[in-house]
């Protein structure tokens, strides 16, 4: 895509009506950590969504309770617009909260978090509209809603039913806040690049170059053949590990590198997204490649569950 839409450049608002981007992030993290969530860091491998972070994808599997909050910059190459679209981003920032098991008052807790960032629920229309979430590359799905604030989708709210093709028990709830658009809303700006990141810096000052350059790379410069080759190499490596895990025994099995195999799977997923944005994949091939990534993801999930179960049994003295 080479055409562009003119972006009106606007001066930063002199007086903030809402939270700065970073205050929004800090406030929500503070809100959830004070409700027993671990504060985690964004995953340091390219991901398309916070769900792909092992802190969600793998943690929701198995019986152990867990609560976590983290920000996750999420890269979607096909959504890049060279920084010229006021609300579409190659990389947007999600705030991800996972509560396992899902508490009974989770909707109230969530609404409380909106109050914490200054949204008066009696002056705005906040509603839960059906939106069932599914990630075919991860073999994951759940039922829930998109949460709308005055017609703007601000959060994906999902009761997980499956991850990596495994039925989940207990059920986790995942809250995915779209931080960029919430910030724009709170600050009353139409263009995400005009959002005040801090008191002095705009979102555009912090991120615009990144949007421009990655859009250019993903749409124009990425070498399809090289990208495909990387995909193939990493896929083989991941598959090799996952196959080897099946034969591992004892201590070797307990510390077998499944997490690295999952990392490789994530890299494949990202490379697939780059190829897709580059327009290098036919529709048939597309379905096949999604299938290849899903195969790695579901194998990693099953191996992870098996490994954790084995360790727990070992610790409890159950002979293996």
């Amino acid at each position: 895509m080479t055409s562009s839409r003119k972006r009106k450049s606007r001066k930063p608002a002199s007086k903030l009506v809402g939270f700065t981007f970073q205050n929004l992030l800090l406030t929500l993290e503070e809100f959830w950590t004070s409700r027993d969530c671990i504060l985690q860091q964004p995953y340091d491998v390219e991901v398309g969504a916070g769900t792909m972070h092992p802190e969600t994808f793998l943690r929701v599997i198995g019986p152990a309770p867990y609560r976590v909050v983290y920000a996750q910059p999420s890269r979607r190459p096909a959504d890049g617009r060279y920084g010229e679209n006021p609300n579409r981003l190659f990389k947007h920032t999600q705030l991800q909260v996972v509560l396992k098991p899902a508490p009974k008052d989770i909707q109230d807790l969530y609404l409380e978090s909106l109050r914490a960032v200054g949204i008066n629920l009696r002056e705005h229309d906040v509603r839960f509209e059906e939106d069932n979430w599914e990630a075919p590359t991860l073999g994951a799905w759940g039922l829930g809603w998109q949460v709308l604030l005055d017609g703007l989708e601000i959060t994906q709210f999902t009761y997980f039913q499956q991850s990596g093709g495994l039925n989940l028990d207990p059920v986790s709830v995942e809250l995915t806040y779209g931080l960029d658009r919430i910030a724009a809303y709170l600050q009353g700006v139409d263009n995400v690049y005009d959002v005040m990141w801090s008191d002095t810096m705009t979102y555009g000052q912090v991120r615009l170059a990144e949007e421009e350059q990655f859009s250019a790379y993903n749409f124009e410069y990425a070498d399809a053949a090289a990208t495909r080759k990387q995909f193939d190499i990493l896929e083989v490596e991941a598959a090799r590990l996952l196959e080897q895990y099946g034969k591992a025994k004892g201590k070797t099995r307990e510390r077998f590198p499944i997490l690295p195999a999952y990392d490789l799977c994530l890299k494949c997923s990202h490379l697939f997204n780059v190829l897709d944005a580059r327009g290098a994949i036919s529709v048939t091939e597309r379905a096949a490649m999604i299938g290849r990534v899903r195969k790695l993801a579901t194998q990693a999930a099953a191996s992870w569950l098996d490994q954790r179960t084995g360790i727990a049994q070992h610790a409890a003295g159950v002979p293996s």
């Binding site: 002056e123 229309d125 839960f128 759940g142 005055d150 009761y159 036919s282 048939t284």
Partner: protein, 718 residues
């Protein structure tokens, strides 16, 4: 404790739930009613007859509610009689009970001395009579209700208390179950029933104590929940009316959207917002789709029906006093419109036709290749159709135009606009085509070519659109049948039933002269030419023909009100030309109950039976009867009448005066009646027998070319 047996009470059940998807509320409340009615009646909680109780159900996003009136406080005692072994087996010759009597009594839980004897037409049997004590309604309900909740079906349900836990559409958070002021105690998914409900999330109170159904509705209303959909709908309609009329505007009528917003809000309030006049330069179709499908807003029109720069949003709270919500919606809509405008401009940086090569990357079906391939097949078929119509005298059939429209029809699939708004496929292509200087005719053809989408959906507005639509659909049918992607039961991923329906509607409603089998052959030829690797045997053509005719029968029955036997009769004489077949169906319907015709139909059925029987014996009915072998006057008369009448019918048929032709045929009746009265067909003399069979055979053949009368169900009349 009010335990008096004749007492009747009111019962209320509320399943308090996290937000139920709006589209499912109406259906699930109907289902809740049916399930409760089943259990209330099988458990005798209602009196029988008109004075019995009633159940009413309704729902809102966070609740499904059932109200039952005149519920018995207690079931009646019932006497149950169970038949046992025959008396002769149960008692011995001296009248002492046998082992059989003892074990039967034991099984029924009564003493042998309590057994009685009943006489039946089959003899005397032992019988056990037991009185089953009626139980208090409260106890019965406590058992029924968890089962009831579990039985409500959902398109996709979830578990939340654990993988083994119950399933529902979303987590259940509270349950109200109150009978005559008292809680009916049970639990479901870890939630204990009680008598407290929840008001509006932000404006109502929590834990509202409920006495009965009237109290329930009043308290909820005070707490900003309108629990009945009709109340919510009326509020929305009144507010839309109030907001629009004072500006001399009106809302774009949309029942489906009205139903949706009615069930999306517990306390709906309508607000009006505005958008930039400049966006009105975008086509109305796109503006409305953005507002309706993406934002659930009603579009607003001025008095001349043109879109006005306003929208109506339905919010879930009593008011937007500070205008913050309106401002928010306006901002969201601005961004959406800006996106649409972006696509409108960038998509048109190249011409619609230039997207054609990109269709090679869009798979239609794995074995059938891409949309690029499909477009080529559509083009040749659309040309062929237009040629057929033109040479049959349909002047406006445009061969070159149909070809061009088919070439452009699928191009919008790879535009940014359809990527963003897939529901606008076809429409977007049509809009671009027009904006880029294609003729009106071609632009509308592209725009409309997915139509008709159902029995009541209109056809493409011009013949070129009909040609493209027809070509698209027939190609789908033949191609999918060729690779075995045939609809089964409820699964029809390529919407082939709809495609066949569309073809039938186009032919019938446009009255297009066309041989269906020739069209199918042309489509099959197109597939063989363009995809030689796919085998397309003639059997496929016959399958498609049968499939389309099945839809044709359906259309004639459900849309045009013909009876199945009228259709079978006319189709029995051929249905390759559907317009002609439909004329014949109409003629049959018009004449079937006239004085002479009904008996004639019976006579034809008789002839067919005779011929079938004689064929079984080796007598063939082909060939004409030889006049010199006709002996009796009755058979000579029939021969003569058939000749005379046949001549006239032939002329009437040629001019397609089917009704008149059928009336003429019915003049055969006296001669046929006389024949059957006087003549024995199956005589010993072979030559005579065969000649009579030949006479009947030629009669049946000659007079069944309009309709096969023997297919008509004949009413047995005296």
């Amino acid at each position: 404790m009010r335990g008096r047996e004749n007492l009747k009470g009111d019962f209320i059940l509320e399943i308090g739930c996290e937000e139920i998807p709006a589209g499912m509320i109406a259906k699930s409340s109907r289902e809740l009613k049916a399930i409760l009615e089943k259990y209330f009646s099988s458990n005798r909680l209602f009196d029988e007859g008109d004075a019995g109780g009633s159940i009413e159900t309704f729902g809102a996003p966070r609740r499904l509610v059932a109200v039952a009136r005149n519920v018995r406080a207690k079931q009646d005692d019932v006497t149950r009689e169970t038949m046992g072994p025959p008396k002769s087996v149960a008692f011995d010759s001296v009248g002492a009970p046998t082992r059989a009597a003892q074990s039967f009594a034991e099984k029924q839980g009564i003493r042998v001395s309590e057994l009685s004897i009943v006489s039946t037409p089959k003899g005397e049997f032992v019988s056990a009579t037991q009185v089953v004590k009626g139980r208090p309604a409260e106890k019965v309900l406590a058992e029924i209700l968890p089962q009831t909740i579990q039985e409500i079906s959902w398109p996709r349900s979830m578990y939340w208390t654990g993988a083994q836990g119950p399933r529902f559409i979303r987590p259940i958070r509270w349950i109200v179950a109150v009978l005559d002021g008292k809680i009916v105690p049970f639990s479901f998914a870890g939630v204990r029933s009680g008598n407290q409900t929840e008001g509006h999330r932000f404006f109502g109170k929590s834990k509202l104590r409920i006495a009965d159904s009237r109290d329930y509705q009043a308290k909820l209303k005070k707490n900003f929940v309108l629990c009945r959909p009709e109340t919510r709908r009326a509020k929305i309609e009144a507010e839309i009316h109030r907001l629009t009329t004072r500006k001399r505007l009106h809302a774009h009528a949309d029942t489906e959207l009205l139903n949706l917003v009615t069930d999306l809000n517990e306390y709906p309030t309508v607000i009006m917002g505005n958008f930039d006049l400049g966006f009105l330069a975008l086509p109305e179709e796109i503006l409305i789709t953005v507002m309706r499908d993406h934002q659930k807003y009603f579009a607003v029109e001025d008095r001349s029906g043109e879109l006005a720069p306003h929208f109506l949003a339905v919010i879930n709270l009593p008011s937007d006093a500070k205008g913050l919500i309106r401002a928010g919606h306006e901002r969201v809509l601005r961004a959406r419109f800006a996106d649409a405008q972006f696509f409108w401009e960038t998509d048109q940086e190249c011409k619609l036709g230039e997207y054609l090569p990109k269709l090679a990357a869009v798979t239609y079906e794995r074995r059938l290749g891409s949309y690029r391939d499909k477009v080529e097949r559509m083009r040749s078929l659309a040309r062929w159709l237009a040629e057929q119509w033109f040479s049959a005298g349909v002047r406006e059939a445009d061969v070159a135009g149909s070809d061009r429209a088919a070439e452009l029809a699928k191009c919008d699939l790879v535009t940014g606009m359809v990527g963003e708004f897939p529901e606008l496929q076809g429409v977007v292509g049509g809009l671009y085509a027009r904006a880029q200087g294609e003729s009106e005719d071609i632009a509308w053809a592209v725009y409309d070519h997915y139509q008709p989408l159902g029995l009541e959906d209109p056809l493409p507005r011009n013949l070129t659109g009909c040609a493209v639509s027809f070509a698209d659909k027939l190609d789908s049918l033949v191609a999918c049948f060729a690779v075995g992607a045939v609809p089964t039961g409820s699964s029809d991923p390529f919407a082939l039933r709809r495609a066949a329906l569309g073809i039938v509607k186009i032919i019938i409603e446009e009255k297009l002269p066309l041989s269906l089998s020739a069209a199918i052959s042309a489509a099959a030829k197109g597939l063989r030419d363009h995809a030689p690797e796919i085998e397309t045997p003639e059997a496929v053509e016959r399958q498609v023909m049968e499939f389309v005719l099945e839809r044709a029968r359906f259309v004639l029955r459900d849309k045009h009100g013909f009876a199945y036997d009228e259709i079978n009769a006319a189709f029995g004489a051929g249905a390759d030309n559907l317009v002609d077949a439909m004329d014949r169906v109409a003629a049959v319907k018009a004449i079937r109950n006239t004085r002479n015709f009904a008996p004639l139909a019976a006579a034809f059925k008789r002839i067919r039976n005779i011929l079938e029987k004689s064929a079984g014996k080796g007598d063939r009915s082909q060939g004409a009867a030889r006049p010199e072998l006709l002996r009796e006057s009755a058979e000579k008369e029939l021969f003569e009448a058939a000749r005379r009448i046949g001549e006239k019918v032939g002329q009437q048929k040629k001019t397609r005066h089917y009704r008149e032709a059928l009336e003429t045929i019915s003049l055969l009746r006296p001669a046929i009646d006389l024949f059957f009265d006087k003549i024995l067909v199956m005589v010993e003399e072979e030559e005579i027998r065969r000649n009579r069979i030949a006479l009947l055979g030629s009669l049946l053949r000659e007079f069944s070319t309009i309709a096969d009368f023997s297919e008509l169900a004949v009413e047995e009349r005296g």
